[in-house]
Amino acid sequence: MDMKEKQPITPTTPVPTTSSAIAAEAKAKGPSTAEQGESQMRDGVAAHSAAEQAAPLVDVSKLENVQDASDEQIKTNREPKMSADRVGVFYGDKQALKDVSIKIYDDLVTAFIGPSGCGKSTFLRCLNRMNDTIPSARVTGRIELDGDDITSSSMDVVQLRARVGMVFQKPNPFPKSIYENVAYGPRIHGLSKSKTELDGIVETSLKRAGLWDEVKDRLQESGTALSGGQQQRLCIARAIAVNPEVILMDEPCSALDPIATAKIEELIHELRGRYAIAIVTHNMQQAARVSQRTAFFHLGELVEYGKTSEIFTNPRQQRTQDYITGRYG
C-alpha cells in the first residue's frame, strides 16, 4: 500500500479539472480540514520519513529494559534473602496456613494481601518466629534466612529478631524517652561501645526513619507523647537501630491518617534497598503503591505471587482477580 501512497494524483501540468477537484476537496473538508490533514499525514509517506529522520525521543524497547532490569536481575542473579518452603501453621488442631512457599528478595518490597483470616499475618509472623509466643501454635516446613533454617531449635530467636525486625499495626513505643526507645535495642545487643557511638546510632536511625528533624530538640520527651504517625516512625527507627536485614510490617498504616500514611510509604520507599521489606496490608492501593512483589493469600493458601504490576493489571488466578477487583465474598 505504501507504494500506492507514493503516487498521489498530482500531475505536474495543472489540468483545469484537477484544480477544480482540489478546490472541491478543500470545500468538502470544510471545518475539519486540520483533522483530516492530520490523518492524511499520519497515513502518508511524509510522516514516516519525518519520523525516521528525527532522532528518536524515547526508545521504548530500552525503556522497558531499564524498568525490568532491577526486578529481573534480582530474580536471576541473587539468592533470596528469605525463603519459605511448604510452610504450614497450626493453631491447636486448626490449620491456619497450608504449604506456603515463597522467596523474599533484598531490594524488593513484598506485600502480602488477602481478606481477614487468610493467613497473611500468620505467615509474616513465621518469618521471625513471632508465633513462638503463642503456646498452641505449631509451624511446619522450612524457612531460611540467607540459607540458614530459622525454625531449627539451635537458632537464637533473640538474634533472629534483631536480624528480622518487626513493626506492628498499632504504634507501640516503650513508655520511655524518644532517645531510649531507639537506644534500647543497640544497648541490649551490645552494638555500641560508647555514649557517643550510641548517640550516633540513635541519630542515624531517626534520620533513616524520617523523624530526626521533628524530634532532634526533644529527644528526652516521652515517645508516647508523639502523634500516631510519629510514633510509628519511632517504632521503625527502633527496628532499624539494631541493623536488621529484613523488616516485617504488619499493617503499619491502618491506624494512621492519610498524611502520616504517605510519610510511612515514602519511608518504605527509601528503606528499600537497605533492607528486605515484607508488608501485610488490607489496603490494596497501598500494596500497589509500595511493593514490587505481591502475594495474595486466601483461606490459608498462597493463591498467587508475582510482580505487583502484573498482579494488579493482569492476575492469573480467578480468586486474585475477584479479590482485587472487589468481588470477593
Partner: protein, 229 residues
Amino acid sequence: MQQASGHTIKAFDEDIERLRALISQMGGLAEHSIGEAMRCLVERDVKGAEQVVADDKKLDGLEVEAERRAVQLIALRAPMAGDLRDVVAALKISGVVERIGDYAKNIAKRVPLLENAGKIEALSLLPEMARIATGMVHDVIDAFIARDADAAIRVCQRDDAVDDFYDSIFRTLLTHMMENPQNIGQATQLLFVAKNLERAGDHATNIAEMVYYAATGEHMADRPGKSPR
C-alpha cells in the same frame, strides 16, 4: 479471565455497565452514520447527507460523556485488573469511534459535490466495501461488550478484505481518470471516500486490539495478516 460475579459494591457494576453501554451506543451511531453516508452517496441524497454531518455532533457529545465517566470511575472507584483494563479500553475506544464518525461525516460532505456527476463503475464497489467496514465496527463493539477476544481476532482478519477493496477501487479509478480527464473530479472524490472506508476498517482493527487486551491482559502481538500502514 472471566468477571465471575458482580462487585460487592453494586454501584461499581452500574458505573462500569453504564460506561460500556455508552460505548455500545457510540458504536451503533458510527456504524449507522457510515451506512447512511454511503446510501446518500449512491442515491445522491444531499438532504440526507446534511443530516449525517449534523448527527456527528451527537457522537462528539457522547465521546465527551464517555471520557467524563471513565475519568470519574477511575478517580472514585480505583478499578483494578480486568476492571481497570475495561475502563481504559472504553476510554480509548470512545476516541477511536468518534474518529470513525468523522470519516462518515467526511464521506457525507462529498455528496453535494457529486450531485450532478454521472455514476462510474467504482461507485458500485464502494457500498460493498462500506458494508465490510461497518460490519467490522459492529462486530468489534459487540466483542467489547461480550469481552470476546476470539471475536476481536476475527475482526482483525477481515481488515485484509477492506484493504483489497481499496486497492481494487484505486486501480479502477485510476483507469477512469486516464481514460477520460472529465472523470478526474469525481474519481478523486470517490478515492477519498474509499480511503475513509479503509481508515474506518483500520480503526476497527485498532479497537479489536484494545478489546483483546481488555479481555485477556495480553497484547495481540503480530496478529496474522496484518497490513502495513
